[in-house]
């Protein structure tokens, strides 16, 4: 090969680089090992993290994944393909995304969906940027003042953080309304009038604390005041709960969330995917990739990326967003998951999670010193008060082999004695009893 090139050595191929730049500082990296040794090393570490039953949710859920999902998704034809820019050579991925767009809009009762973004937190960031572009009638576009986004009630604090960090350099400000009994303070929200009127309102259903927000009242207030509604939803819950497209009289304008519950392992929180859906009228404001159905030269149906003129590789500095990625492999898994479980299976999963969580709350509140912190209905997460600093309780329960919920003091100082707990359809009666016993042992010796 060097002879064909006419170069004396591989080093000669780097002769345009000044010698002083060649590194001699690579010794901090060890010598390589073979695959067997690497796996042995990694397995030793993975074993240290094997834990007992998981009762933590907070945006990542331990659901059953049908065996077929990853057997198919991990096929090299899906896993090692690139973005489907050459449509004729990518009909598998493209048709699958079209089917995904159909399924996720069905779940959310929205008109259109993109091909996904990174995760739930960044999906909310993109939703906020989109809302600011879409709400051109808002007075802040004339005055040049800050574009306020109201956060109604208890939204996932990590989502709010990520969104703040993604949007802050564009004159956007997130304004929390505060909560009453763990839900939106409606008076505070509807008191945002005049100059304080937000461009959009974010509402998570069920909210971060597991409770049901009054989404109809929020959506109707927003609609009457020219405020766009951004819904953050859990896809499993949508088999039971009214979808964002049906909130209030007119529905939400944008719906987003994390697709992890749909056939994706927890895997330390990633990769999963963020979904982002909207009304037909706002489709040109959607960032990211979109797949459309069309025909080929012989009038046969086929699929292709479309409306690419919105995207960064065409519009560059005038693009809606810098995002390129759709989390294709995870969307592949979620699409296969939804096809296999169907509406009946998903509804059974959702009601089973709801039933398991009620059983869990009943068991835990039976432990001396433990009570339910908020009254009112919940779906598959709930806040329990353990009567002492919850971070220490969670660590002690972990010592007994249970991943026992999220201590909330870090986010809400007045909830420092509280754990956010969750039970999915996978948690057996024995798992729940074991958590109850562990909590009893930690709290009451």
């Amino acid at each position: 090969m060097l002879t064909s090139i006419g170069a004396p050595s591989i080093d000669a191929l780097f002769d345009e680089i000044e010698p002083a730049l060649k590194t001699s500082h690579f010794d901090g990296i060890d010598e390589g090992v073979d695959e067997m040794t690497m796996i042995q090393e990694m397995a030793e570490r993975a074993r240290r993290d094997e834990a007992g039953p998981c009762f933590t949710g907070a945006g990542c859920y331990d659901h059953h994944i049908p065996a077929a999902v990853w057997d198919i998704a991990a096929r090299g034809e899906f896993m090692t393909a690139y973005t489907p820019y050459q449509a004729e050579a990518s009909q598998g991925t493209l048709q699958l995304i079209y089917e995904y767009q159909t399924m996720i809009t069905g779940l959310t009762a929205m008109d259109v969906s993109n091909a996904s973004v990174y995760d739930g937190g960044s999906a909310l960031g993109e939703a906020v940027l989109m809302a600011v572009r879409a709400n051109r009638a808002h007075p802040s576009n004339k005055t040049g003042g800050p574009r306020r986004i109201a956060v109604a009630g208890a939204c996932h604090p990590h989502y709010v953080d990520a969104t703040t960090n993604i949007t802050r350099n564009q004159g956007i400000e997130l304004v929390p309304t505060g909560t009453t009994d763990g839900r939106v303070d409606l008076d505070a929200l509807t008191g945002m009038t005049g100059d304080r009127m937000p461009v959009a309102v974010i509402v998570q259903q069920p909210n971060f604390l597991g409770l049901i927000e009054p989404v109809d009242e929020i959506a109707d207030w927003a609609s009457a005041n020219g405020v766009l509604v951004i819904a953050v939803v859990n896809p499993t819950s949508l088999a039971l709960l009214r979808p964002p497209g049906e909130w209030g009289a007119n529905g939400a304008d944008i719906a987003c969330g994390d697709g992890q519950p749909l056939g994706i392992p927890m895997a330390s929180g990633g990769p999963s995917f963020g979904f982002l859906c909207t009304r037909s009228s706002l489709v040109r404001q959607l960032p990211g990739r979109l797949v459309g159905r069309t025909v080929d030269r012989h009038d046969q149906p086929g699929f292709t990326l479309t409306l690419q003129a919105r995207e960064q590789h065409i519009r560059r500095g005038k693009a809606r967003s810098n995002i390129c990625t759709n989390q294709g492999l995870l969307v592949t898994a979620a699409t296969i998951y939804l096809a296999i479980v169907g509406a009946t299976g998903l509804s059974r999963v959702a009601s089973r999670c709801h039933e398991r969580t009620r059983k869990l709350v009943g068991t835990l509140t039976g432990v001396n010193g433990v009570r339910s912190h908020f009254a009112g209905p919940y779906f598959h997460e709930h806040v329990i008060d353990v009567g002492q600093p919850a971070d220490r309780v969670a660590d002690a329960v972990a010592e007994l082999g249970i991943v026992g919920g999220l201590p909330l003091g870090r986010y809400f100082p007045d909830l420092r004695n509280c754990l956010l707990v969750c039970a999915t359809e996978k948690r057996t009666d024995a798992d729940i009893a074991r958590f109850g016993d562990a909590l009893q042992q930690v709290l009451n010796g």
Partner: protein, 487 residues
Amino acid sequence: MNPGETIFDIGKPGRRASAQAPAAGDAPDLPASCLRANAPRLPEVSELQAVRHYTNLSARNFSIDNQFYPLGSCTMKYNPRGAHRAASLPGFLNRHPLAPESASQGFLACLYDLQETLKHVTGMAAVSLTPMAGAQGEFAGVAMIRAWHDARGDDGREEILVPTAAHGTNPATAVMCGYRVREVAVGADGDMDMAALKAALGEKTAGIMLTNPSTCGVFERRIREIADAVHAAGGLLYYDGANLNAILGNVRPGDMGFDVAHLNLHKTFATPHGGGGPGAGPVGVGERLVPHIPTPVVARDGDRYRWVDNDQIPGSIGRLSAFMGNAGILLRALAYARMLGREGMRRVGEYATLNANYLMVRLADAGFELAYPERRASHEFIITFRNEAKTLGVTAMDFAKRLLDYGFHAPTTYFPLLVAECFLIEPTETETKEELDAFVDAMVRIRAEAETDPERVKTAPHTLPVSRLDDVKAARELDLTYSFGEH
């Protein structure tokens, strides 16, 4: 399967995979007003129907596992299965992202090792692994540059310089961070036009975004001069790691004078592209930007690992994802790095460069026109079909589509924008000489076809599941979801 037949077409009302539904429970303890009235329209198929449908769909894809995939700037190298196996170990797959540190020491140790490895790879002082893709790594990089200027009260800097050859994400990122974009011309030799750079630099300059080797497929030879000029003007340098594969183990962004660099683990560290994602775009920073790195990161105290969050890095640009970015991709990259080791990494850059230069010389000898004939290829290079387009009416897109018929994925077409009718070709280090020779043979045969039977090339592809698709109809008559009852 019939053309265009979707999972919705093959269903029947009431059909389902009975093994995949837990027993029905009691009525939910939720107010009727918040319950869904109508079940969502999801597929109604058996498990076998679903498995068969998606297996058949997978066969309608090109992939690295099936085809040579010389997409310039995308680094479509082999994705070792061992890395996938390692990341799929039960202890990793079942770990909850908010599990206590005491139950997470294995995972945290892996992240710590990857941070350290990437510090050495980039020549930087610190690394944060959280960005979930190259574009998010870019965002983190420019947001840190902004945070650094802001922290110094230097708030008159409103411009980010970007070369005309840059990826579209670069200008889009600068705008997301609240900057104006000022483009800087690239000279005829593929290097930056130094006069244009010096004219653009000034008190408004916040920084510059550069890829090196550049998207022209050549190494920016005056990089240290550029770094000195940007620093002298008070700006910082951001390194787009899209092309790091070319110099892995040989040259480091930190030594070139960059203040921040992102890496595309889905390129240089061989994690699978997954049909469009996930990727991962960790950032490495020089001393000046350490106080601003995105959170969370991992620290080690003796033999114990712990999370470091905003409370300990008050100047951080903060969290960019719900949890820890694309954690599973980070594990795959660590597994790959562990197998390569330092000698393996050096070989990656060397063999990627060798393969590119070999393919470039072979194509040039076969009569294809190089965009930068006087230059070495980096790990990729550009050829232009401007002559074929003019004399034969056959464009770069036509060559690309015809290559699909020959069983090769097309190279990147029409990028960078400053070279007409171009292919950006990146063979990567994992291809054999025989594969490169077969690609040259196909290119030569297609040009012969273009001379004798141009229609054959202009109407390609002919052997794929669909022929060339009507993009205009797709955009004009938007059909983004299946219409139930209309097909």
